[in-house]
Symmetry: none
Subunit: 236 residues, 4 copies
DNA sequence: AATGAATGAGCGTTCATTCAT
DNA sequence: GATGAATGAACGCTCATTCAT
C-alpha cells in the first residue's frame, strides 16, 4: 500500500512537471512550438513516458487550461471574502484578476487554443467537463456578489439586465485590458503609461455609472485595492 | 516613383492575390493549415514564385495582419465623421467595432499570431513598423475624438488621465467583449443572452460615469447606434 | 512427467488463453494489429506475464500456426476413415479441406507469416520442428490412402511418380483454389460462379484422368461429397 | 521540350528504381519490413523525394502488384501464340506460369497484401482499376484458348461448366503448386522431389480427364513444354 | 511469479526552404 | 523571373521489450 502510493505520488509529480514544462513553451512560443520531442528532451524522460501520462498532445493543452481556470477560480473565491461590502468584494475580484494577469496571458492563449476544433475534439470528455464547470462556477461566484449588492440595496440592476450580464461588462473590461497589455508591448508608445491604474479607474467609473453604493473616491478605492492586492499576492 | 512599370504593377497584383488566397485558409483553418504548397497550388504558380514575393511564410501572416489593422482603421475613420457631437462620434467608433466583429475574429486570430515570438521575429522590420504605425494612427483618431469632447466642454478628463488612457478603457471593454464572444460559444449558458446589447449598455454607463455630455437615455443611445451600424454596414 | 503440478496446468491453460485471444486479432486484423499491449489488456494480465509464456511476439504467431496445422491434420484423420474405398477416402480428405476452408483463411494467413524471414528466424527451433512434423504427418496420412489404393488395385501409379507426388497434385488444386477464393472477391466477375463446385469437378476429372477406380459419375461423386461434408461439419 | 522530356525520363527511371528496390524487401521480408526510411536510405535519396513519386506507402505496394500482373499477362500473351493447337497453347500458358513462378511468389505475396482493406483503400482508384482490368484480360485470354478448343472440336465443355470455370481448375493447380513450392522449402522432405514435373504430369492428366484432343503421351507433352519454356525464357 | 512504468528506435508523413535549370 | 524536384529535419505517435519492484 505504502509502495503503491509512493509510485502514484511520483506519477502525479511527473504529471505536474510535464505541465509546468509545457506551459512556458505553449505561452511563449505557441501551440506548434510545443512538441512532444522537445518536451521529453527537457524532462529527460523518453517520449513514450510522456504518452503514459497524456494520450496525446492536445490533452496536455487542455490540462493546462484546466489548471489556469482552476487557479483563477480559487483566487476569485479567496478574494471575494476579503471584504464585507459587495462593492469592495467586486473590487477584490478585480484585484485578483490583476494579480492573476501575468498568468492571464497564459490562460488567454490556452483558451484560444481550445477554440481550435481539432484540439477540443481530441481531448477527453472528462477534461472538457472540467473546463465548463470551472467557468460556470467562476461566473456564479461573481454574479453572486452582484446579487448580494442588489439584495442589500447597494445596487439597482438596470431594466432587464441580469447579474450575469452586469458581470460580463466588468469581465470584458478586465479581460480585454489584460489581453491588450499582454499583446501590445508598445502600449506606452500609444500614450498609455500605467494601464493597470487606468483600468482601475475605468472600473471604478463604471461602478459609479451603475450608482453602486457606497460611493468611494477613486483615491480611497485605489488604496483599498492596493491593500487587497497585497493580501492576495501574499496568499498565493 | 512615377516609374511604376507594368511589371511592378503585376507584381503588386500577384502579391494581393497571394494574400487574398491566404487569408481564408489562415482564418478558417489556422496557421498550420496555411502551407506554401497549397497556396502555390491554389494560385497556380510555382512555390518558388511565392518566395519571390514573401521571403517566408511568417511574412505573409504579418502582411495579412497589416491588412486587417488597415481595414479597421478605415472603418474608424469613416465612422468617426458620421455624427457631429464627440459622444456620438465615439459611439460610432464603438459601432464600427461591432460591425467589424465578424471580421474581428480574423483580425484577432492574426494578431494572436503576431504575439508568437517565432513569427514576429522572422518578419521584416518594414512590416513590423507598418503594424506599429497602424495601431498608432487608430489610437490618434479615437483619442482625437476625446480631445474634441474636452475642447468643446462635453467632457472633463479625470485627474492625470490622458485622452489615450480614456480610450484604453473603451478599447478594453470592446475588445474584451468581442474576444469573449468569439471564444466562449457557451456565453448564453452562463446567463448572458445578448452580449452585444450588454456591451452597449456598459459603454453607455461608462460614458455616463465620465459625465460625458450630452446625456442620452439608453433607449435613445441604442437607436442612434442602430442607425449608425446600419450606415457602416451599407458603406462597407 | 506425471508430476504435471497444478501450477504447470495453470500455466498451460493461460498459454491456451493467450493463443485463443490472439488468433481472432491476428486473423481479422493482421500481424500489425496484434500488439502485446492489447493482448495483455484483453487477458487482464500484465504485459510482463505474457513474456513469461512467450519470449516474443513471433513465437505466438508460430504457436498459432502449429494449432492450425494440427487442426487440419485431425480433420484429415477423421475424414479419412469415414469411407471404405480409397477413392472415397481421398474425396473425404478433399471435403475436409472444403470444410476447413472457412478457417483456412486463418491457416493461410498464418502460414504466409511463417514465410516472413523475420518471424521464422525469431521463433524457437522447438516450434519450428513441430511445424515440420505436422506437415509430414498430414502428408503421410494422405499418401497412405494413395498407397492403399495401389495395394488394392484401384489405382496404378504413373511411371516414377510417388504417392506423395500424386498427393501434391490434389493438394495444389485444393490449396490453390481456396487461396484464390479467399483472395479474389471478384471471382464471379471473372465468370466463375460456383468455385467450390468447379473444384470438385476438377478433382473428380483428375481422378478419372488417373483411372482411379471405382468410377463414379460426377453426380454420384458430388452427392457422396455432400454427405461426407455434412458429417465432417457435424463432427467439428 | 528536350529538357522537359529528359527530366520526365529521369523521374520515370527513378520511379522504376524505387519499385525495383522495394520489391525484394516486400517479398523477402514482408509489408512491415518495407519502410519509407529504409527505402530512401537504399536509394540514397531523401524521404521526401519518395513522396514526390508515391503519395504513400500503400501506393508503392499496389504499383508493384500492377507490375506483377502486367508481366504475367504479357507472358501469357506471348506464350499463347507460340503453338497452333489449343491444347498446346494451353500448355504454353502453363509453361509461362512455370517460368514466371520465381516472380509468382512475389505476385502472390503482393496480391495477399491487396486483400488488406487498409492498403487497398489508401491506393488510388486509377491503380485499383489497372489491377482489375489486368486480371480480367488474363482470364479472357486463357478462356479464349478454351473456347477455341471447343470451337474446333478438340474439347467438349462438361455440363454447365463455362470456359472460365475450366480455366479456374488449371489456374488453381498451377497457382497452388507454385504457392506451395514457394512457401514449403521442405517439399523434398515430404517426398516430392521434382514438384514442377509433378505439376506438369497432373495438368497433363487433367487435360486427359477432360479428353482434350489431340492426345499426346506425357513424354511428348513434356518435351513440347521444355521447348516452349526455353523460348519463353529466351524471350524475356 | 507478476507487475506495469520506462524506454527509444522506429514509423509514415509533412512542409518550409533551396537551387539548378 | 519562374519553376518544381529535392531536401531533411521535424512532427505526433506506436509498441516490443526490459527490469526494478
Amino acid at each position: 500500500m505504502a509502495v503503491l502510493s509512493r509510485k502514484q505520488r511520483e506519477i502525479q509529480e511527473r504529471e505536474q512537471r510535464i505541465l509546468s514544462l509545457a506551459r512556458p513553451i505553449l505561452v511563449e512560443q505557441g501551440y506548434q512550438a510545443l512538441s512532444m520531442d522537445r518536451l521529453a528532451a527537457q524532462m529527460e524522460y523518453a517520449k513514450g513516458t510522456l504518452y503514459n501520462h497524456f494520450p496525446n498532445k492536445e490533452e496536455i493543452v487542455v490540462a493546462l487550461a484546466v489548471e489556469s481556470l482552476e487557479l483563477r477560480r480559487k483566487m476569485f473565491e479567496r478574494a471575494s471574502i476579503l471584504r464585507a461590502t459587495p462593492r469592495e468584494r467586486m473590487m477584490a475580484v478585480g484585484c485578483s484578476c490583476e494579480v492573476y494577469s501575468s498568468a492571464c496571458a497564459e490562460h488567454f492563449a490556452v483558451e484560444q487554443m481550445l477554440r481550435n476544433a481539432v484540439i477540443w475534439e481530441k481531448s477527453s470528455n472528462k477534461r472538457q467537463d472540467l473546463i465548463r464547470q470551472c467557468e460556470l462556477r467562476s461566473m456564479d461566484l461573481v454574479a453572486g456578489i452582484v446579487r448580494d449588492a442588489v439584495a442589500v440595496g447597494d445596487l439597482q440592476l438596470p431594466n432587464e439586465m441580469t447579474a450575469e450580464e452586469l458581470v460580463f461588462g466588468f469581465w470584458s473590461l478586465t479581460y480585454g485590458s489584460h489581453a491588450l497589455i499582454a499583446s501590445s508591448p508598445t502600449l506606452p508608445d500609444l500614450g498609455i503609461g500605467d494601464p493597470v491604474r487606468s483600468i482601475r479607474y475605468h472600473a471604478w467609473t463604471l461602478m459609479n455609472g451603475y450608482r453602486w453604493a457606497p460611493y468611494l473616491s477613486f483615491e480611497e478605492a485605489n488604496s483599498v485595492m492596493n491593500e487587497i492586492a497585497e493580501r492576495i499576492r501574499s496568499d498565493s
